[in-house]
Symmetry: C2
Subunit: 416 residues, 2 copies
Amino acid sequence: MNNVKTSVLKFGGTSVKNLGRIQHVAEIIRDRLRIGSEDQQKILVVVSAMGDTTDYLLKLGVQCSRSPDKRELDSLLSTGEQISITLLALTLKEMGISARSFTAPQIGIFTEKVHSKARIVDINSDNLNRALVDHDVLVVAGFQGVTADGDITTLGRGGSDTTACALAAAINADVCDIYTDVDGIYTADPNVISEAKLLKRVSYGEVIEMARLGAQVLHPRAVELARQYKVRLRVRNTFKPEHEGTIIDQGANEGEKVEIYRSISGVAVDKDQACVTIMNVPDKPGIAGTIMQALADNNIVIDMIMQAFHPTAGHNNITFTVHSTDLAQTITVLEAIKGDFSATAVIADEDIAKVSLIGAGLAGQSGIAATVFKAFGAAGINIKMIATSEMKLTCVVSGKDADKASKIMHSSFSDD
Amino acid sequence: MNNVKTSVLKFGGTSVKNLGRIQHVAEIIRDRLRIGSEDQQKILVVVSAMGDTTDYLLKLGVQCSRSPDKRELDSLLSTGEQISITLLALTLKEMGISARSFTAPQIGIFTEKVHSKARIVDINSDNLNRALVDHDVLVVAGFQGVTADGDITTLGRGGSDTTACALAAAINADVCDIYTDVDGIYTADPNVISEAKLLKRVSYGEVIEMARLGAQVLHPRAVELARQYKVRLRVRNTFKPEHEGTIIDQGANEGEKVEIYRSISGVAVDKDQACVTIMNVPDKPGIAGTIMQALADNNIVIDMIMQAFHPTAGHNNITFTVHSTDLAQTITVLEAIKGDFSATAVIADEDIAKVSLIGAGLAGQSGIAATVFKAFGAAGINIKMIATSEMKLTCVVSGKDADKASKIMHSSFSDD
């Protein structure tokens, strides 16, 4: 590569919802290229499927098979991005811009052999660099990958963000801009909490926690990749391209005093969660491990976990949270193995939400947790599970209490 | 491969128009497998895109770009088949059948580097045979191919028929059944000519002529492939799977008397044609070649050609027919080069039709041509161009006269 700066731009499904919006996206790209200026750029664009395309395809697949084969489903879903990349490339070419579309198999985004939530294991950066010599804009399909055997995989929720960060790392891009339909990253969901503030700059770690805990801006896997390869990320609004949005980077350097690195950076809510409890598991070593392994073998990610021991009975109840979409499979797996260790029942609770407080400096402020719990109690909000780490405080509450709980949390540290 | 018989089954767009029809197709495949019987089969299915999907995608592409880049368009259109193969594979798997879908890049259907009407140059039969060991049914995307560089191509009109014949040749299939929405091949279009008869058996050569001349049953390129590799073809009705349809093979062996090898096998009409005339081309050697080369360079196939010489003026008018979809490009090409040899004008006539009489024994029956011309004259039908070969007699007439002309032709040799 020569010294031309290369930016990665990612546009989600709402940004390419219809042909009018694809035209708008093409105009943003054209402006970013600065053709003819001294500062002319190369651009690698990652796009998601148009609007509800993925949901529509998924619905077709589920109509054909109640528990659809994941390899076939991934191949089906990947057509959504193939349609949006070709339409965007056609629109760019119509504007006289040298552009070319690439599916994941075409450009070489290799993943492990797992369907519906594969991890990227390798990217053919030679292909990318060669294509960037020949074209000003590469339009690459987000969300998808390919195995060494040529099977198409998908990366799961937030997959296009992951594609964008991985490509930015592979070509050592100047910046990776995630264009979405909000102005950037807020201290809480501005639709729920009107006092929520836009963050100008935030660290990878904080965003990872916010995303993991339900803030819908960026998938944590994507931000983890960005952190690992030091990709400078920005979250920007497709419909206000002149706004700077939120910068995500390594955070304040030593000795550097950056006003925005508050002790607490935001509140996140995740309603797409379910609780599962396995009742009366004998208190013997290895059983919890067996259960977790069985879930891992089915690619089910469990999050919070709580073990409640009844000393007199010698039994444990093991409770954990999973994503709602994994609930049915989780129950199937557990029902199949529960007899092996004479657990008596598997109970699910779908009506829950995780409400979390995130901040790089949370560890140093033990008073905040006390404040939050007291405020929850006063508001009659029952806390079902609690988890804390250096950077977060998460409470599982009833779904109906989620918004109220997030408001209480946000006001508990608000400057106003 | 072991001795298990393998059949290739091809289903067109109307056969997989919606999920109900995909279910019906899956049931045909299940019945054809004869699972558990001594005669158990392996099946390779080729499917087109569902219903009007290709037209819908094409419309999207054209909305993005007035003259869309063909590489991008092929990648866009190929998603149609990728959707139908995965949905059919999901449906088969739901029925407990071991099935797997393959796009052209996945299974290895290689074409030349031409977009929108590429020719297949190689098929990875090792891939196919390996997949046939592991699965009872392979569901392969029709109409598409891939270049050695990984670019997706499409095979043009009738592309899925070509895919089916090429795959049948590659795995030396027992039979290649083309399932469609008619009972088989008729002596003429039964919607126009009520006396049209279903043919039980017909030769490759006759079908190639019928298809080339506008009969919509099978693309000539597909039948040519079948003839070259001696693939036994059958045309059958998806909605009457118990019917035998029409067998297409090499025709009567020497000494074999087969009733159905009449001297004349049918009438074909092609209304998707246009005439183009280049006026006043100087009568110098090489100019016709230059014109034809310019068209070939743009992948425009010309069909009938006529040169009318004006001895006194020393000028030719060159007239030829092209497919309607190639007309705009043909005019563009000719306008660009006409100055090079001082032709005065390029004139197009879109309102034409080719009406053809096809028969293996046409050559021996010169009387038939005379009968046809006389009958056309009596009916007031003006013949614009005429072409004959050993197996056909083609007349170009006005579009409005097409149906009348085909009826007259059909009755001129009808046995009744």
